[in-house]
Amino acid sequence: MITEALAEFIARTRFADLPEVAVTAAKRLWLDSIGVAMAGSAEPLSAAITSYIREQAGPPQVSVIGQGFRTSPALAALANGTMAHALDYDDISITWLGHPSAILVAAVLATGTRLEVSGQSALTGYVVGWEVGASIGRSIRHRIHEAGWHSTSVTGTIAAAAACANLAGLNADRTRTALGIAASMTSGMYLNRGTDTKPVHAGIAARNGMMAADLAARGVSAAADIFEGPGNF
């Protein structure tokens, strides 16, 4: 039962479970991701996203990196994820087949700020999301690109949901549902690489993954066997 095992891993992992090497790597990648988001904040794409989210007028809760204002967690995740990938200067994982930190840092910062979590919890959510993304990437490999989808965001939506479920302390059952909801929210066409839309994939994945965890927390239902049921992910 893949979904059950993943959900249990996500729900039970705590800071004390993280190997030191993971914590060290996580902190390096956070700094890198924040830096590339700052650099990306000046891109025309970022001006467009910023203008869009200002129009949505979210409550000033979560910082938009390098833009001098705050907005709602969902809109901040959309903007921060997009900006961190805007220059394609962010980290990449060959196992994940994508760009993990743009998505995960954006999702963890937004959810983490809303829930007022500690640095240890934030790092734990990030590492859990990374592990889940890498597990999925390792099992789907490049079949996903041959099918026309972009793995950064398809895998990333589920990884972001895992990170946020861990941060929010969802139990294994609700986490399993969060995975089911997230799988239905995956998107991103590989054909859009090289265009502005590719970085937007990272923002969408961060926002959707967060939303999947938030809906699961409120009892929204989804398939409990999204990775092994008939017609599964």
């Binding site: 700094l31 924040i34 979560v62 910082s63 910062l109 007022e116 640095g119």
Partner: protein, 176 residues
């Protein structure tokens, strides 16, 4: 090595790396920042011309740097299946490469890369990571003061000791 001494540069690489070298005329003269980042001829020429590669080298205004472009015209890229590492698309390689530089005096110098710099097998140093961060932060839409940049580095480096993310998040915003 000086650019003027270079006769020809040949990059031997895995199959996936060909995506960043074909079509050759476009890769030698990238028209956009993203094309330049996905161009082996352009990046190798930046490294040879400037001895380092920075974000600014990919700004639209720097894509026409004559010192870089004259070298890019001397770059050739060859697929060597022995460099396919099984990691990339359909097993084609994207990291391993051999760089061969023929100089005008008739000598050839080669260098082999096994791992991408910055990856787990060849990590960036503390100073390199800090330099990349500071270089990036300088482009922020809302300027981030130098003291805030130092504080952000400190906060992230000690993240597991932070009670909450409040101060970090305040600083990331940039100040108006």
């Amino acid at each position: 090595m000086r650019s003027d001494d270079v006769e020809e540069i040949t990059i031997h690489c895995g199959g996936l790396a060909l995506l960043a070298s074909e079509p050759l005329p476009l890769r030698r003269r990238p028209l956009t920042s993203i094309d330049a980042k996905f161009s082996i001829p352009f990046i190798v020429s930046v490294a040879l011309a400037h001895h380092k590669v920075l974000l600014g080298d990919f700004l639209p205004k720097n894509l026409g740097d004559p010192a870089v472009l004259s070298l890019a015209d001397r770059v050739r890229v060859r697929h060597d299946p022995r460099l396919d590492d099984g990691a990339g698309f359909r097993g084609a390689g994207m990291v391993k490469a051999v760089l061969e530089v023929k100089t005008r005096d008739g000598n050839t110098r080669t260098a082999r890369v096994e791992y991408a710099h910055g990856g787990p097998d060849d990590p960036m140093s503390v100073d390199e990571r800090r330099a990349k961060f500071e270089d990036c932060a300088a482009y922020s839409a809302v300027p981030i003061p130098a003291a805030d940049i130092r504080r952000i580095i400190e906060l992230v480096s000690t993240l597991e000791q932070q009670e909450d993310l409040r101060e970090l998040f305040q600083l990331l915003n940039g100040r108006r």
